[in-house]
Symmetry: C2
């Protein structure tokens, strides 16, 4: 076992400059997965990711192809078939840079202002991928013996919902055995306040099309005698919840576990200020199921939301039409033990049961579903993480939830059977997905230090398992 | 008094050909009012309308200007200041020709196939304007003495809602004194089945914007704790009616008169086949306030319809957004004695009263409002019309309603104080506003004959008043 477990080798100022320089090169590549015009850049970025992993000292690095997808970058360092394996997941693709005119400096020309580096991908996720690679580089270049197996998996489609990940795992999953998943694509609570994300919500998605007559009708000539799809759809959507926000769909909550005392304790420890939260989004009052507290509703309870609703004439002025169809997009955020397929089925049953007479309904289940997950905040495998974060940031990490969905996490957990640990370094003002995305450089360096410590402490913890 | 009142002079085949040729020239002018690119064509069409009126024998013809509008064509034949005045209203503008690729022959290259003439405007309304002009031409060219005063008013903005008509009437209304309004911009019941439209619905229009947070939010990160404007708007719209279609807005029906025995009798006389009607629009069942029969709901009862509804992400795939705003466009069709301003006010009051907590609502009242109107089907001034239609078509006219709104009719009635008579010649398959608009030539000639008879019989009726 390495002595690093006691005294992790931290990088000096010269090395920090080197990590920053490599990140800046990484950020210059416009690896936008949403736009096919950037295919060559995604290819270049996959190769650059592979180069970084080779530089860090990973002995086996390969680009695994899936038709129609950017290459999956996989790096392995298998030291002992009997030892546990830790898989680090990240992504090298980025969100589009639109609206480009609202960037202070160009999105793919990284620029340091004060203590932040501005560029698309600076935090999400190239900056965080770089933190892991730098931590491994430092450990291996200092001659440290990491006594467990390491696998990096860095994909190029996370920002578009990882559409080929299941196929990739079906093709290559057998060559990715692992015991622990480490991901850094979530958030810190605030500057200097590290966090471990212990829950993520799952998802189910559907699109509804409600129709009545076979064509659009003049609302003067036909109004009063024809069921209006816009009215029927409004009426139907209104049956899904009561007017305080409780979901009324029979069977929707099947499997949902009560909020445990441990979960309540975690929430109690969060320094959450509802007033500040509301002001941040211009809200006069919060809303939702009155049987649960706000953070419970955000992190530990499922939702059913309308994400899009449309039909009829939506342009300037008026056109008095009774449209033939009305449409809605629905998303459900799920908590652990809630099966997306079951939830989709009971919502579908509810909709058909409450469908107003003479209306027709088509339901299309959209891809992107996944289970929610929760990690026990007291799990022994979190000890190394807690200790490393606390030592690097000078403050014990908070255990937080994430209301949003990371499809890759559930897919990897399900397929590979490993426990996921989510240590994110995104600050609340990192502006991920928005203009002026940035990374706070002291957080970048502290994050590398925290990861060096975590990888070191795992040398003891994982081998004791 | 003219002997024509007994034996109206009907046109021979040669004259019919002349009327058709003049209509074909009229239809070649693409007088599309919705598109400013056609301003010169509207100007040309106004002049052609004036030429037709001069040819018919109208002694005073002028183009009256209103800034921003195509000219109003006015023709007068004032024979006696003490005699009654009949004003004929029509329009020379047409709907856009889109989708142009679905026309069998080009929309502005009139083409006769079998017994129909195909072109944009063939029925709506150039064909019907031509019928009136031809009828007057025939009477005056045969040396007939029409003993009452005649005014033609032909505008160029009907298809875009007559936005300058109120201004025109304010400027020139004093020079348009009249006792009776005659309009042909409505429908026949079927081929060979003439109709007099005795009711038109009025209108009130509004647009709603409901908001919650100050910006779009991620439905994962915020879902469960923020009122979703799409859900709140659906809930709000659902309060407007019960689930069978009865309007629940307090005060909405103020002033609505019960359906009189005479109105019921008129409906009883209509050979309405609900199955055929439903099949025509692909509807499995009709819908609406079960306290009223279908034709009552279409013609004699007010409506409240959603014509547009939108918010959130409405494109391909999914984007899990909680939008900051949701929008709806509402139209109300009104019956006589229902004040559009009052109806708008009570609907607004209802919406604010039922607004879900923490939601904000903005209401914009759109232009285009107007009163509904009804003409007593037994009115003596309808005698000449009934007789003329019956003699020309061989069948007594039905008294029908029109659920849609013709803003010009209410405006002319209100401003000029005259009784409106609506004799329309549009057949159910005339395809007004659609590709392959056409006029059935036997109906065109029978319509001219009917109008010659009507104008002749008015020589007696009007002068006896």
């Amino acid at each position: 076992m390495s002595g690093f477990a006691q005294r992790p080798p931290l990088p000096d100022a010269h090395k920090r400059q080197d990590y920053l320089a490599r990140l800046i090169e990484y950020l210059k590549i416009p690896s936008i997965s949403a736009d096919p015009a950037y295919a060559a850049d995604l290819d270049r970025c996959a190769n650059y990711t592979a180069d970084l992993l080779r530089w860090a000292g990973m002995p086996e690095v390969e680009l695994l192809p899936i038709v129609g997808a950017p290459a999956y970058v996989v790096a392995r360092r298998m030291v002992n078939p009997q030892a546990p394996t830790l898989l680090i997941y990240g992504h090298y693709d980025v969100q589009p840079e639109i609206p480009v005119e609202r960037w202070t400096t160009p999105p793919f020309t990284p620029h340091v202002r004060q203590d932040r580096l501005f560029a698309r991908g600076a935090t999400d996720d190239k900056g965080q991928v770089m933190m892991h690679i730098a931590a491994i580089a430092q450990l291996l270049q200092q001659g440290g013996e990491i006594p467990y197996n390491l696998i990096f998996l860095v994909e190029g489609e996370e920002e578009i919902g990882s559409p080929h990940l299941q196929q990739f795992l079906a093709s290559y999953g057998a060559s990715l055995p692992c015991d622990l998943l480490l991901l850094s694509d979530t958030a810190m609570w605030d500057i200097g306040k590290p966090a471990i994300t212990t829950s993520i919500r799952g998802m189910a998605l559907m699109e509804l099309t409600l129709s009545s007559a076979s064509r659009d009708l003049h609302s003067g000539t036909y109004g009063g005698a024809v069921a209006n799809p816009l009215e029927m759809l409004s009426r139907l959507l209104t049956t899904l919840k009561d007017d305080e926000g409780r979901i009324l769909v029979e069977g929707f909550h099947d499997g949902v576990l009560p909020i445990s005392p441990a979960m309540s304790d975690e929430l109690q420890a969060i320094p959450f200020n509802e007033t500040v939260w509301r002001q941040g989004i211009g809200l006069s009052q919060s809303w939702g199921d009155p049987d649960y507290a706000l953070l419970e509703r955000l992190w530990m309870r499922p939702t059913l939301e309308i994400n899009g609703l449309w039909g009829g004439y939506c342009g300037q002025g008026m056109k008095t039409v009774l449209p033939a169809q009305a449409h809605a997009k629905l998303s459900m955020r799920l908590v652990p033990n809630q099966d997306p397929a079951h939830v989709s089925r009971v919502v579908e049953q509810h909709l058909y049961k409450h469908l107003p007479p003479h209306a027709h309904l088509q339901i299309e289940h959209a891809p992107g579903s996944g289970f929610g997950l929760r990690v026990d905040g007291a799990h022994p495998l979190l000890h190394a993480v807690r200790r490393g974060l606390e030592e690097a940031f000078g403050e014990a990490p908070l255990l937080i939830g994430e209301g949003a969905t990371i499809p890759a996490v559930a897919a990897l957990k399900e397929r590979l059977g490993a426990m996921p640990i989510l240590i994110g370094f995104a600050l609340p003002d990192a502006k991920c997905h928005a203009p002026d995305e940035n990374i706070h450089l002291p957080t970048f360096y502290a994050g590398i230090e925290a990861l060096i410590r975590i990888y070191s402490y795992y040398s003891a913890d994982l081998m004791q398992e």
